[in-house]
């Protein structure tokens, strides 16, 4: 069952090679252009995703949902087209589709720039210099696309099974090489890889079904499939909509069972202003990834400017895939409230892109208001307090933050930590590595001393010295045991942190 995925550069010879191979073998041929067409028919806003690469990398993060749907659609299309066992696919980043499945032949092609320029000149009616400029810029755009959509470096040779340089090789010979390679035992599907492919297809299909269902289209869901069982994980605040998930997947073909489960772990992060590019963001998301947790944001306005605002949960901007609207794609502007959300929406969007968002909302007030806002949804495993009460001056701000922390810990029975302590408490960096090394050496030294000098130690504990100075043994033990306990527990704590057990 050969599935050949060819990555071709624009105006290279990928299309010609793929067509030749399909003609020679009779295997079905599918191109990226067909996927693009299908994406438009399905309602995925692929145009926005594509142009955001040229216009602004910042917009790209807002399009995380479109990116995930596009990848789901490509996976589904490849699986469905290859259901009879064979496929030749070609197009941009073709080699990066369906990662993690063995048995696929991933092919890269190198074509001379001069040849591509000549092709672009003819096809697009461009003078030579403009054609060169067009291709050079397009190659850069594609690099960015690969980085953003596939999280891969376009120069990485390890993502190819075969790379053909077409500068000195005819298309016929390249086709013959591809054909012979595709028939090798290494590129045959095993039962295991077939099952993986089926599961990937099922999960992709489920994602598209959920996005197309009006009630589930805006939900932050994580979908996976194992042996025909689809598991959909939703956020606790979406519990009321959980029934819709099963309903949206009722018609899903190939699905033996659907399991809907609520995310067990949530981190609540409270701050006055958020910055998705800040150090705190990296640390909180790092911890969320380790714990498999979702992060909920609470923007606290201690000065009460938000009092008139009704707290509104900011979530993934969904919208059903049925985009055939009567506006012709020209949408009304959002109401401009002039309201500064202090980075809340941008940070939620970044979390959505990372698949870690549990939403976010602003509130005004202090301890009591925070507790009132979160007590009904208290499934947090950690509360992180960042910059708060900023207008009150350093000392007052520290005191009020500490009081808020104590209040939250007492009322919600959840561990509370200041964002500044996150790294030292939960993450492992250079400082922790040096600390671990120092404490390991101290532990070894203590054990070496104890086992090397047993005679004098036993003398103090029960020998001649003990009979002379009975109080010395008690003081020695009282001081020594806590020191050993502290040193040893620090070492074990840091080791557990390395192996992700907090």
């Amino acid at each position: 069952m050969p599935i050949v995925l060819i990555s071709s550069s624009p105006h290279g010879s990928g299309g010609e090679l793929a067509q030749n191979l399909a003609k020679k073998t009779g295997w079905p041929l599918y191109s990226r252009d067909q996927v693009v067409e299908k994406a438009h028919e399905t309602g995925i806003k692929l145009s926005r995703l594509e142009t955001s690469i040229i216009k602004s990398p910042v917009i790209s993060e807002n399009l995380a949902r479109e990116k995930n749907l596009y990848l789901a659609l490509v996976t589904k299309t490849i699986c469905e087209t290859a259901k009879n066992g064979n496929l030749v696919y070609y197009g941009r980043a073709g080699h990066l589709l369906s990662p993690g499945i063995s048995g696929l032949l991933r092919v890269g092609l190198g074509s001379a720039l001069e040849m591509r320029i000549e092709h672009a000149m003819k096809q697009l009616n461009l003078p030579q210099e403009k054609a060169r400029d067009y291709l050079e810029k397009l190659d850069e755009d594609i690099k960015k696309w690969i980085h953003y959509v596939h999280r891969e470096d376009s120069q990485n040779p390890l993502v190819y099974d075969l790379f053909l340089n077409l500068q000195h090789m005819s298309i016929e010979n390249a086709t013959a090489i591809l054909y012979e390679t595709a028939l090798l035992q290494d590129f045959k599907f095993t039962v295991e890889s077939q099952q993986k492919m089926d599961d990937k297809c099922l999960a992709a299909n489920a994602k598209i079904h959920l996005a197309d269902h009006i009630e589930t289209s805006g939900m932050d869901l994580s979908v996976r499939a194992v042996n025909g069982v689809v598991t959909v994980t939703y956020m606790p605040r979406q519990e009321a909509s959980a029934d819709h998930i099963s309903r949206a997947l009722e018609e899903l073909s190939g699905c033996r069972e659907t399991i809907c489960t609520m995310a067990e772990t949530n981190i609540l992060w409270i701050q006055e202003s958020f910055d998705p590019k800040g150090k705190n963001f990296d640390q909180v998301t790092q911890l969320a990834k380790r714990w498999g947790a979702a992060v909920e944001l609470l923007r606290l306005d201690s000065e009460g400017k938000d009092r008139s605002q009704i707290p509104v949960m900011i979530e993934n901007q969904g919208g059903s895939l049925s985009l055939k609207t009567d506006t012709g794609g020209v949408e009304d502007d959002d109401a401009d409230t002039g309201y500064d959300d202090k980075g809340l929406a941008r940070t939620v969007e970044k979390l959505v892109a990372l698949g870690r968002s549990a939403g976010g909302f602003p509130i005004s007030g202090a301890g009591r208001e925070v507790i009132d806002a979160v007590k009904d949804n208290n499934n947090y495993s950690l509360i992180v307090l960042g910059n708060l009460f900023l207008s009150k001056g350093n000392e007052t701000s520290t005191r009020l933050t500490r009081e808020l922390g104590l209040d939250l810990r007492e009322k919600l029975k959840v561990p509370v930590i200041a964002s500044g302590e996150l790294h030292s408490r939960f993450l492992f960096g250079k400082t922790q590595a040096f600390k671990l090394l120092g404490f390991i050496l101290t532990t070894v030294l203590i054990y070496w001393l104890v086992f090397t000098f047993q005679k004098p130690i036993l003398n103090v504990l029960g020998g001649d010295l003990h009979s002379k100075f009975k109080w010395a043994a008690s003081i020695g033990v009282a001081l020594f045991v806590p020191v050993v306990a502290y040193v040893y527990s620090t070492v074990t704590g840091l080791v557990l942190k390395i192996i992700d057990i907090d």
Partner: protein, 126 residues
């Protein structure tokens, strides 16, 4: 500064919505749903800005862009499409499009692009 804008999109609603929004800004608009009729008008008159869809029957937006460039180097062409790819966007920009907007878009995006075109026209005049 009010400017002369030609809008070409084979979906009538697009022209109607852009007209309603951009005329409020004081601009003068001519709306076309037929690309051939729009090309004839472009041959007759130099517009400050041409807003054109890319994917249409008979004539595509790239051809419109090329016609505008033949007639006037000054006119700013803004491409709009729901079928954009990196390749098409890059081709449009290489061929002299001023901006490229993917559908669906908010009205403020097109107003922003028109404003930028207006600024560029003014800068060229000075």
């Amino acid at each position: 500064m009010p400017i002369q804008i030609l809008v070409l999109d084979d979906e009538k609603i697009v022209g109607e919505r852009l007209k309603a929004s951009l005329e409020k800004e004081g601009h003068t608009l001519e709306i076309f749903i037929n690309p051939v009729a729009a090309l004839n008008r472009i041959k007759e008159k130099v517009f400050d800005v041409v807003v054109t869809d890319i994917r249409m029957d008979d004539v595509d937006g790239i051809q419109v862009l090329e016609e505008v460039r033949k007639k006037s180097q000054k006119t700013k062409v803004i491409m709009i499409t729901g079928y954009a790819t990196l390749e098409v966007a890059r081709e449009s920009l290489t061929k002299g499009a001023f901006d490229f907007i993917a559908k669906p878009f908010k009205l403020k995006e097109i107003r922003g692009a028109i404003q930028k075109a207006e600024d560029a026209l003014q800068a060229e005049e000075n």
